[in-house]
C-alpha cells in the first residue's frame, strides 16, 4: 500500500442475498473484486451505466453496504480505519470523516426543518459541538463557503431552487469536517447551468479544504471536466482505470470507447458517426461467464466467452481488463 493513499481496497466485494427462501438462495454480486487506490486530495471519478455497481462501491467505502470479501482501508495520515472490521465508537468516528452527497436535492432535505437546522443536525447528532453558539458559528462558516447567506439559513427548503438546495446538501455533508466525500450523481438532476455552478463549487471547496472526492456519475463529459482519475465499471468490475487525460486520449477498453462515442455530440454534422453498442447491461443475478462485456462487445472472440480477463497495466497508472486491448489500438 502506498502511503499517500486515502482509500485503498484489495479485491473488495459486496454481495446481497436475494430470494431468501430455503431452496432459492441466490447471491447478487454488486461489486466483484475491486482494487482501487484513491490518493489524498484527488478527485476520483467512477463511471458506468445503471447496474454497474458504482453506487454500491461508494456505499461500501462509507460503511453503508456490507463488505463480503476483500479489504478496504482509510488513512488520512492521522487516523487509520480498517473498513472491513469497523464498528462501535470507531465507526462513529469514521462517520465524521467520510460523508455522502446525494443525487436528488429535493428528496434529501427534510421539508420541516430550517436550512440552519438541516446543516446543524450532523454536528448535534455526532456531538461535535457542545454549545448552540459553537454550532451556529460552525454552520455560518460552512454556509458561507457554500455561498449561502444568513438570510437563507432561516428559511425552509421549499423556498429554494435545485441549485441552492444542492448547495445546502453540500454544506451539510461538509459541516462535520470530513476528509473523504462520496458524491453520488450529485449533479445529474440539475439543469446544465446549475450543474456548471455546482461542479465549480465542488472543485473550489476540494482545493480549498484539501478534500478527497469520489465522484460517481454516468455522465462522462462531467467526469472529464472534474476528475483527475477515472475508473470505468461494468457489472461490478472495473474494466478500465486511468488518469482522465489518458483515458480521453487513448481509451483501450471497447466499453470505454463505446461510452465516449455514445455521448451526443454538439456538432449536428456528427450524426450517426457514433460507434453504437447493441443490447443492454445483463442482469447482475445472471452474469455471463468469461469477460462480462462479451455479450455486447463487437470484438469478442472465443476466449472472451471462456476466461475472465485480468486488470493489466498498459501504461503508468493506466489499467485495462480486456483480452484484446493490445490488438485494438
Amino acid at each position: 500500500m502506498r502511503e499517500d493513499m486515502l482509500i485503498s481496497t484489495r479485491n473488495l466485494s459486496v454481495e446481497f442475498n436475494i430470494g431468501s427462501g430455503v431452496f432459492s438462495k441466490q447471491v447478487l454480486k454488486a461489486v466483484d473484486g475491486i482494487s482501487i487506490n484513491i490518493p489524498r486530495g484527488s478527485f476520483f471519478g467512477v463511471v458506468g451505466e445503471s447496474g454497474s455497481g458504482k453506487t454500491t462501491l461508494g456505499r461500501a467505502l462509507l460503511k453503508a453496504a456490507p463488505i463480503a470479501r476483500g479489504t478496504a482501508t482509510y488513512d488520512d495520515g492521522e487516523n487509520t480505519y480498517d473498513l472491513t472490521t469497523l464498528k462501535g465508537a470507531e465507526l462513529k468516528d469514521y462517520r465524521k470523516r467520510a460523508q455522502l452527497i446525494f443525487q436528488d436535492p429535493y428528496a434529501a432535505l427534510s421539508p420541516r426543518m430550517t436550512v440552519r437546522d438541516i446543516i446543524a443536525e450532523p454536528l448535534e447528532v455526532m456531538g461535535i459541538t457542545k454549545t448552540r453558539e459553537e454550532t451556529d458559528t460552525r454552520v455560518r462558516e460552512i454556509a458561507e463557503k457554500c455561498r449561502l447567506n444568513l438570510e437563507h439559513l432561516r428559511r425552509f427548503p421549499h423556498a429554494f431552487s435545485g441549485g441552492q438546495r444542492q448547495r445546502i446538501s453540500i454544506a451539510r455533508a461538509l459541516v462535520s469536517g470530513p476528509q473523504f466525500i462520496v458524491a453520488d450523481e450529485s449533479v445529474a438532476a440539475l439543469d446544465v447551468s446549475i450543474q456548471a455552478d455546482v461542479l465549480n463549487l465542488l472543485k473550489s471547496i476540494q482545493k480549498e479544504m484539501g478534500l478527497t472526492f469520489m465522484f460517481i456519475s454516468h455522465d462522462l463529459s462531467v467526469v472529464a471536466h472534474t476528475c483527475d482519475h477515472v475508473a470505468v465499471m461494468y457489472l461490478g468490475r472495473i474494466v478500465e482505470s486511468a488518469p482522465t487525460r489518458q483515458i480521453f486520449n487513448s481509451a483501450r477498453h471497447p466499453y470505454t470507447k463505446a461510452l465516449f462515442s455514445a455521448i451526443p455530440s454538439l456538432d449536428p454534422d456528427d450524426r450517426g458517426r457514433a460507434q453504437k453498442l447493441e443490447g443492454e447491461i445483463p442482469s447482475p443475478t445472471n452474469q455471463p461467464p468469461g469477460c462480462k462485456f462479451h455479450t455486447r462487445c463487437p470484438f469478442a472472440t472465443d476466449i472472451c466467452k471462456r476466461e475472465e480477463p485480468a486488470l493489466e497495466t498498459c501504461e503508468d497508472g493506466h489499467a485495462v481488463s480486456c483480452h484484446h486491448w493490445q490488438d485494438l489500438r
Binding site: E49, S50, S161, G162, G163, Q164, D191, V192, S193, I194, Q195, A196, D197, L199, N200, H218, D219, L220, S221, V222, A224, H225, T244, R245, F248, A258, L259, F260, A262, I263, P264, S265, L266, D267, P268, D269, D270, R271, G272, A274, K276, L277, E280, I281
Partner: protein
C-alpha cells in the same frame, strides 16, 4: 400548409399564490417529417407548451383568447382551441397527436400487460378488430427492436428494463399512426448507450412514418443529434428559433449562448464551465421587459427592463428576440 401552427399561445394557471404565466405569446410551426427541438431549463414552460397542443393541462389553466392552434389533417384543418368535449378531443389525443414521456415506468399502467394497453388504444382510435390490433401491436414492438415481441406483448411494464420500456412506449405511441409526436425528455432517464439506441430508432421512424416531432429536452447534445430546427424557451417565452446548425454554431441570444457555455465540452477539458449568473426567477415575480434581463451578461440598458424585445431575423429563418440583435440590425441597415 404546415402540419402544425401555433400562434400567440398564452397560458396562465390559477394558484393559491396568484395567477402565474406559464407560457407567454409563443408562436411556431412544424412541417410533416420535421423534428423541432424545444430547449430550456426546468420552469421554462416547454412541457406546458407541448401539453397545450392537446389541451392536457390541468383544470386551473386559462388560455388567452388570442391563442390559436391549428393542426392539418389530410385536407382539413382542425382548430384545437375550439374542441370542447373529451369526445372531440379524442380525435387528437392519442390519435392525431401521440406523446412519449420521460419516465416510461410511470406512463404504463402497472397492473395491465403492455399488450392490453396497446390494443386498448387501437380499439379506441381505429375501427380495427381485436385480433388486427394485436397483430399490429406485435408488429410495432418488433419494429422498435424488441426481440421476441409476442412474449413481450403479454408482459407487464416491471418485467422490462428501462430501455425496453421506452421502446415499448414509442411502439405504442406510433401504432395509431399519429401525424405529430410529442416526445417529452424521452431519453433523459436512460443510460448514454441506450439513449444513443433510442435516438437512432426515432430517426429511422421519422423517415418511415414521416410524422412531425416536437422533441423536448434540456440536453443540447441530444438536440444537435436529432432536430432539424430548435426553439429555445426561457420563463414561458420563446427567445430564439432557427435551423439546428445555425442556432448551435451561432447562437444569438445571450441565454442560448449561456446554455452552451455551461456544457462540459469534450474537445477542451481545460475550458472552465461558465454557469449563467443567478437563478431562474419565480413565475410569481416575472421580470418586466425582456424576461432574461435579470441574469443577462449583455444587458444594454433600460430598454431591456422596459420593453419586450421583438423578433429579429438574424439569418435565414433564424430569429432572435433580443434588444441587442435589434440594435445590431439597426446599425447594419
Amino acid at each position: 400548409m404546415s402540419l402544425l401552427n401555433v400562434e400567440n399561445l398564452t397560458l396562465q394557471f390559477d394558484t393559491d399564490e396568484g395567477r402565474i404565466t406559464a407560457v407567454d405569446d409563443v408562436s411556431f410551426s412544424l412541417e410533416p417529417g420535421e423534428v423541432m427541438g424545444l430547449v430550456g431549463e426546468s420552469g421554462s414552460g416547454k412541457s406546458v407548451t407541448a401539453k397545450a397542443l392537446m389541451k392536457l393541462n390541468a383544470g386551473n389553466a386559462h388560455y388567452a383568447p388570442e391563442t390559436k392552434i391549428s393542426l392539418m389533417l389530410e385536407d382539413q384543418s382542425i382548430d384545437i382551441m375550439s374542441l370542447k368535449s373529451p369526445r372531440e378531443m379524442q380525435l387528437v389525443r392519442g390519435g392525431a397527436i401521440s406523446m412519449i414521456f420521460q419516465e416510461p415506468m410511470a406512463s404504463f399502467a402497472p397492473a395491465m400487460t403492455i399488450g392490453k394497453q396497446m390494443v386498448e388504444q387501437l380499439l379506441i382510435h381505429s375501427d380495427m378488430s381485436k385480433s388486427q390490433a394485436k397483430a399490429l401491436s406485435i408488429e410495432m414492438l418488433d419494429r422498435v427492436g424488441i426481440s421476441d415481441a409476442s412474449t413481450r406483448f403479454g408482459q407487464y411494464a416491471f418485467e422490462m428494463s428501462g430501455g425496453m420500456r421506452q421502446r415499448a412506449m414509442i411502439a405504442m405511441a406510433l401504432s395509431t399512426k399519429p401525424k405529430l409526436l410529442i416526445a417529452d425528455e424521452p431519453t433523459t432517464a436512460l443510460d448514454v448507450t441506450i439513449q444513443a439506441q433510442v435516438i437512432d430508432l426515432m430517426k429511422d421512424l421519422v423517415d418511415e412514418f414521416h410524422m412531425g416531432i416536437i422533441f423536448i429536452t434540456h440536453d443540447l447534445g441530444v438536440v444537435a443529434q436529432t432536430a432539424d430546427k430548435v426553439a429555445v424557451m426561457y420563463l414561458g417565452r420563446m427567445i430564439e428559433q432557427g435551423p439546428v446548425r445555425n442556432v448551435i454554431r451561432h447562437p444569438q441570444h445571450p441565454y442560448t449562448q449561456g446554455l452552451l457555455d455551461a456544457l462540459p465540452k469534450l474537445d477542451d477539458l481545460e475550458a472552465p464551465l461558465t454557469p449563467i449568473a443567478g437563478d431562474i426567477p419565480s413565475p410569481l415575480e416575472r421580470p418586466s421587459g425582456c424576461v432574461f434581463h435579470t441574469r443577462c451578461p449583455k444587458i444594454i440598458g433600460d430598454v431591456c427592463k422596459r420593453d419586450i424585445p421583438h423578433w429579429v431575423d438574424t439569418n435565414a429563418s433564424h430569429r432572435t428576440a433580443c434588444h441587442l440583435c435589434t440594435v445590431k440590425q439597426g446599425e447594419t441597415a
